[in-house]
Symmetry: C2
Subunit: 155 residues, 2 copies
DNA sequence: GCCATATGGTTTTATGATGCAACCACACAA
DNA sequence: TTGTGTGGTTGCATCATAAAACCATATGGC
């Protein structure tokens, strides 16, 4: 088989995420959904992507529990695609991608938008990773530990 | 042309990130590099990916300034691939992907590792997005604003 | 009712990307 | 010289993607 290697059974959580949203379009669809788009045609015209691909992606994300199809909203017999909590949970990923571009892109002047807090209208801070006790952590301050084995008996 | 649509000129910072690291393998390669892998063979055997694909990805990431080729280190006439600051800057993206799996994956018991702070050995907190004044922000507390036009004259 | 048009897709077909295996180049060792 | 390991490149089969055509169901005009 040549089967574009699936990460489904992989034990790495990053690989598992990529399995669901690691393709070209999914995160952009989620981004648009986060901004309020709901209808097939809206996504299609906004993103300019092929309709068959959009169709496949939407279905895949529905299967993964990232989107749900809501029956209507304006009566028009069609369905809408709305984010589930799992879908909205990708927000930090989108922000991280955005901030990475803002910080390291070779042509940051081409970036058209900035993310601000809607209350004050000022740019948000960089995402920060903290320890349980609140210390700010850099990559070097972290390490991976094997997950404790699930206790079978006393669950 | 069918040319797998490039996001290179896109003004959306998320699309721009995906252009560089939005494919199947790049983030996994970066993850391994973050853990200390450096040599072609190490990546290849650890990730189990085809050598030609690895070769293409490494070259692409070098072109994007995410990796650099260092001439040696153990004398063996070959080169090593090490992360640049831009490459290390993807850390929050990896953490965000990891945490999304941890929170929403259907089979979280299959996730083998947890990210801890190396000082205390305790799991890290969730990534948090804050406003300039320190308020914790949810997706709904944020909005996108057009970037202020670059002033040509008084730069 | 009848035709035109918009929406929301699916099907068809062509090409680029990926996966695998084979091959090549180089370094080093026996 | 031959052998072996590393670091790739090349060919070919298959998969995914893109573009466009096609289809089904409303909606609107007449």
């Amino acid at each position: 088989m040549v089967k574009r290697t699936s990460f489904e059974g992989d034990s790495c959580p990053i690989a598992r995420s990529l399995e669901a949203i690691g393709d070209w379009w999914s995160l952009l669809i989620i981004r648009e959904a986060m901004l309020g788009l709901r209808r097939f045609g809206e996504f299609q015209s906004k993103l300019g992507m092929a309709k068959n691909i959009l169709s496949a992606r939407l279905r895949s994300m529905v299967d993964h529990g990232i989107l749900t199809t809501a029956p209507a909203s304006d009566g028009s017999a069609y369905q809408e695609y709305v984010l589930t909590p799992k879908g909205r949970g990708t927000f930090p990923i989108l922000v991280a991608l955005r901030q990475w571009s803002e910080e390291f892109d070779d042509h940051p002047e081409e970036i058209a938008t900035i993310l601000v807090d809607s209350d004050k209208g000022r740019p948000v801070r960089k995402l920060e990773l903290r320890a349980q006790d609140g210390r700010l952590l850099s990559p070097a301050d972290t390490m991976l530990k094997p997950r404790p084995a699930p206790r079978r008996r006393s669950a």
